[in-house]
């Protein structure tokens, strides 16, 4: 994208003489003010309280039936209210921008909850833009952009972390070897309820394995060790063990997870972390 083009167009817009243009019917717009911002924020807070108490009916009554992804949103709400208990949604300081019929509320949030089956506590973090539209009945939620705190299925960006960032070759046992302390954690609120997920591990030497992470709380998957060993021949993809050719280090291990529904109106997104073996 070349930023010069839009800036040039902006300049041309401003430079053009408006007085020479034909008449256009003036439109009367509603006046937005701080009271409108406050009312929109109050409406959002009401939705948050309804989500916390599992009042899906109230939330449903505040949505426009023409909202894109309405059913996916509702399905996710119902799944959350069934699978997560004692939900508490904490919004940090928000940035509120209002127009005559629209208010955009940008805020970071934290969602705390307990899993229904074993009452394991969990916390998700994200950042959202809540788009509120003014309707006859008051302010309605038109869309949530970014990480959706209300409805797990409607999309929240996952986080993937791998520790440590480097492993000495000497820490790897000869193949078939033993698991090394290479910790992997994936947090994907969209997958709350699943017992495990598989991420992909590929090495710069041509190995490729599926690595299974186990749920430690809803949407949080972890393993503390990873099967990596060293040898002196080419690795075998799909063997279940990451083989590192000791004669060709340094090598890079790349962990890859495709977040099917990352929110923010983003198509499926690739998350990658790499560590070095030297």
């Amino acid at each position: 994208m070349n930023a010069a083009l839009p800036l040039l167009l902006l300049g041309l817009l401003l430079a053009a003489p408006a007085g020479a243009q034909p008449a256009v019917p003036a439109q009367s717009a509603q006046v937005a003010g701080f009271e409108d911002m406050k009312a929109a924020r109050t409406a959002l807070d009401e939705l948050i309280r309804a989500y916390e108490t599992g009042d899906v009916g109230l939330i449903q009554s505040r949505l426009d039936p023409g909202m894109i992804g309405y059913q996916r949103f509702i399905d996710g709400l119902r799944r959350d209210t069934t699978a997560l208990k004692q939900i508490r949604l904490h919004l940090f300081e928000a940035n509120v921008t209002a127009g005559p019929d629209v208010t955009m509320i940008e805020a970071a949030w934290e969602k705390r909850f307990f899993g229904v089956a074993d009452f394991t506590p969990g916390v998700f973090r994200g950042r959202s833009t809540f788009l509120m539209h003014r309707a006859k009945e008051g302010w309605r939620l038109a869309a949530v952009s970014g990480d959706n705190p209300f409805s797990s299925e409607a999309g929240a960006l996952a986080t993937l972390s791998v520790m440590p960032a480097a492993l000495p070759l000497g820490s790897l046992a000869p193949c078939p070897g033993a698991a090394v302390p290479l910790a992997i954690e994936l947090v994907d609120p969209d997958l709350a309820g699943l017992n495990s997920v598989t991420i992909e591990l590929a090495s710069s030497q041509g190995d490729r394995e599926g690595i299974v992470l186990t749920a430690v709380s809803p949407g949080r998957f972890r393993r503390s060790t990873t099967p990596v060993c060293q040898e002196f021949f080419a690795p075998i993809p799909g063997s279940g063990i990451v083989e590192v050719n000791a004669a060709a280090v340094p090598a890079t291990l790349t962990f890859r997870y495709i977040d099917a529904n990352p929110g923010a109106n983003r198509p499926p997104a690739t998350l990658m972390r790499s560590i070095t073996i030297r």
Binding site: G19, A29, Q60, E93, G146, A154, I258, N265
Partner: protein, 564 residues
């Protein structure tokens, strides 16, 4: 779809007051703030107005439980909020403005990173047929094009019957994140958006938009994000038509999306929404089809959705209204994504895991009945059901029913409600369950108001109670009983006072006991014409008899405020 209102040269045919009113409306639309009261000087010179305010909070909090259980930490904190709105109105009606709002706090639960945050930064000018704004600007072009807040520049101008709108800037988490790499948790996204809209007669408007973005992969520190930076561009065209009782909105778009170092995707989107609004009956029909790789700058355009719906609202009688909704929805995100080829080695399939359901059919019906023979008595009924299936054979089912009986009189109101829901999902069967919820409330208000004299004091009290049982398919049961009492009162000129006291008891699905209580006291009074004083006290105590999940917080604070 929000239609932007801009004044134009035609406004000159009206009175001066009409012109100014239109311009002030534009200003309010542009800035998102109240339009100033226009009081031009006798000689028509520019009038400058400045409004603002400040609040200062000092509070002490004790908290326990740790970061997983509570967002709060203990200590003595302060929070300062400042707001300024400076406007100048020229004699010809053009309005210039500068708005600024800032929050400063040392409480980590108020501001996520750092101790200050700019809430609003906006300067601009609006006049006949044009508007330009810089700072926090709300780009509102279309559902499939651009619909998001941007930190940058916005310019709009009429060329005859055609409105041209252009924006360019950066999508960043905050102004602080824009300035400081250490406060970024997402890539900075450089974006632009263009729109041209023209009217054809009284009933039809057509528009076209072009927008694009590119994430700056170097804008965040190493190891902060695992995400691969992406870029996308979109072109859309649409129309809005309204004639009599009929209306139609449609937009189509094409997009290109790519992640750095990986293959890109092209995709498309189409939305059509229409309806008919009669005196007692309103009908809406719509179809949305957005590809899973459709990438736009619109918060409204969720990718990977195909849905068709019909919705009707009918005032069947003076005492009864009905709302019905049927829809078929496909979540294309449910299918395992096609893995992009890695940079160095051939691809292998990604495991097809997902709790999402691919195709869903849903219907719901709501009725509101007001009994004419008993004024104030109402009955609300609702029922809904949905079935979903995914290509992998997974399925889900959701059923819900509810009824609420309410009565409202002059001095009191009461309600009794029942909700029942059943959820099942073959992928996450551990939470399959049936939930029953009963709720009741009683409210009462008192005051010294008479038919001719307004109240000098008021007192309101509301008690609510609910009981919920969730029966899991595994045989376990979770239960929670909740009681809450809210009392609020106001007396002139003393001030106002509100109090909340509540608690809940129950057990989770493992049989562990759940005990919580909470309280809140809030008192405030005015200090002169512009000042205010507020004292508050609140606390929550949860599960203190279960050390692993116990958390508690208590807070006491004072707030001083001043507005000018």
């Amino acid at each position: 779809m929000i239609v932007l209102g801009l004044a134009s040269s035609s406004a000159r045919a009206g009175t001066q007051l009409s012109d100014n009113s239109t311009v002030l409306s534009q200003f309010a639309q542009a800035s998102g703030a109240p339009a100033p009261r226009l009081a031009p000087d006798e000689d028509g010179a520019t009038r400058i107005e400045w409004h603002g305010g400040a609040t200062v909070d000092f509070y002490s909090r004790s908290a326990s439980g740790g970061a997983t259980l509570t967002p709060y930490s203990g200590g003595h904190f302060h929070r300062i909020g400042m707001q300024s709105d400076l406007r100048g109105t020229a004699s010809e009606g053009d309005v210039s403005w500068a708005q600024f709002a800032l929050t400063q706090s040392d409480d980590p639960s108020a501001i996520m990173l750092g101790n200050s945050q700019i809430n609003t930064l906006n300067v601009g000018r609006a006049g006949l047929g044009y508007r330009v704004a810089f700072g926090d600007v709300a780009v509102n072009h279309s559902s499939l094009g651009a619909n998001l807040p941007l930190r940058g520049l916005l310019a709009q101008r009429y060329f005859g019957q055609t409105l041209v709108s252009a924006s360019a800037g950066v999508i960043a988490e905050s102004w602080e994140a824009l300035a400081d790499q250490g406060r970024r948790r997402m890539f900075l996204k450089n974006a632009y958006a263009l729109k041209a809209e023209s009217s054809f007669g009284q009933n039809l408007q057509a528009y076209a938009t072009v927008q694009g973005y590119r994430e700056d992969g170097d804008s965040v520190g190493a190891n902060v994000l695992a995400l691969v930076p992406s870029s996308g561009s979109t072109a859309t065209a649409g129309l809005n038509w309204r004639e009599g009782r009929y209306y139609l909105q449609a937009e189509g778009g094409l997009s290109r999306y790519g992640e750095k170092g990986l293959d890109g995707h092209r995709d498309r989107a189409l939305i059509v929404d229409g309806g008919w609004q009669g005196d007692k009956l309103g009908l809406r029909l719509g179809h949305h089809d957005l590809g899973r790789y459709y990438a736009s700058l619109s918060g409204l355009a969720g990718a990977g959705i195909r849905e068709t719906y019909a919705n009707a609202s009918w005032q069947a009688a003076q005492w009864m209204s009905l709302t019905g909704d049927v829809r078929r929805s496909e979540n294309r995100m449910a299918a395992p994504p096609v893995p992009p080829p890695p940079p160095t080695i051939p691809p292998t399939p990604v495991m097809p895991y997902t709790p999402f359901i691919g195709k869903t059919e849903a219907a719901s019906l709501r009725a509101q009945i007001n009994f004419p023979s008993v004024p104030g008595l109402g009955l609300g009924l609702s029922a809904g059901e949905s079935h979903g299936k995914s290509s992998g054979g997974a399925s889900n089912r959701s059923q819900n029913q509810g009824a609420t009986l309410s009565y409202a009189a002059m001095a009191w109101n009461a309600s009794l409600g029942y909700q029942n829901s059943k959820q099942s999902n073959s992928v996450t069967a551990g939470s399959d369950s049936r939930t029953d919820t009963w709720s009741a409330s009683y409210g009462r208000n008192w005051s010294d108001a008479t038919d001719v004299v307004p109240a000098s004091w008021t007192l309101n009290a509301t008690a609510t109670a609910s009981t919920q049982r969730q029966h899991l398919e595994t045989g376990a049961t979770a239960a929670l009983n909740t009681l809450n009492l809210v009392i609020s009162g106001e007396r002139q000129p003393w001030g106002r006072l509100s109090a909340i006291l509540g608690g809940s008891r129950g057990h989770d699905a493992t049989g562990g006991g759940l005990r919580q209580y909470w309280y809140q006291l809030d008192a405030g009074r005015a200090l002169g014409q512009r000042g205010g004083l507020r004292l508050y006290l609140r606390g929550t105590s949860s599960f203190q008899d279960r050390a692993a999940i116990a958390w508690r917080d208590r807070l006491a604070g004072i707030q001083l405020s001043y507005a000018f």
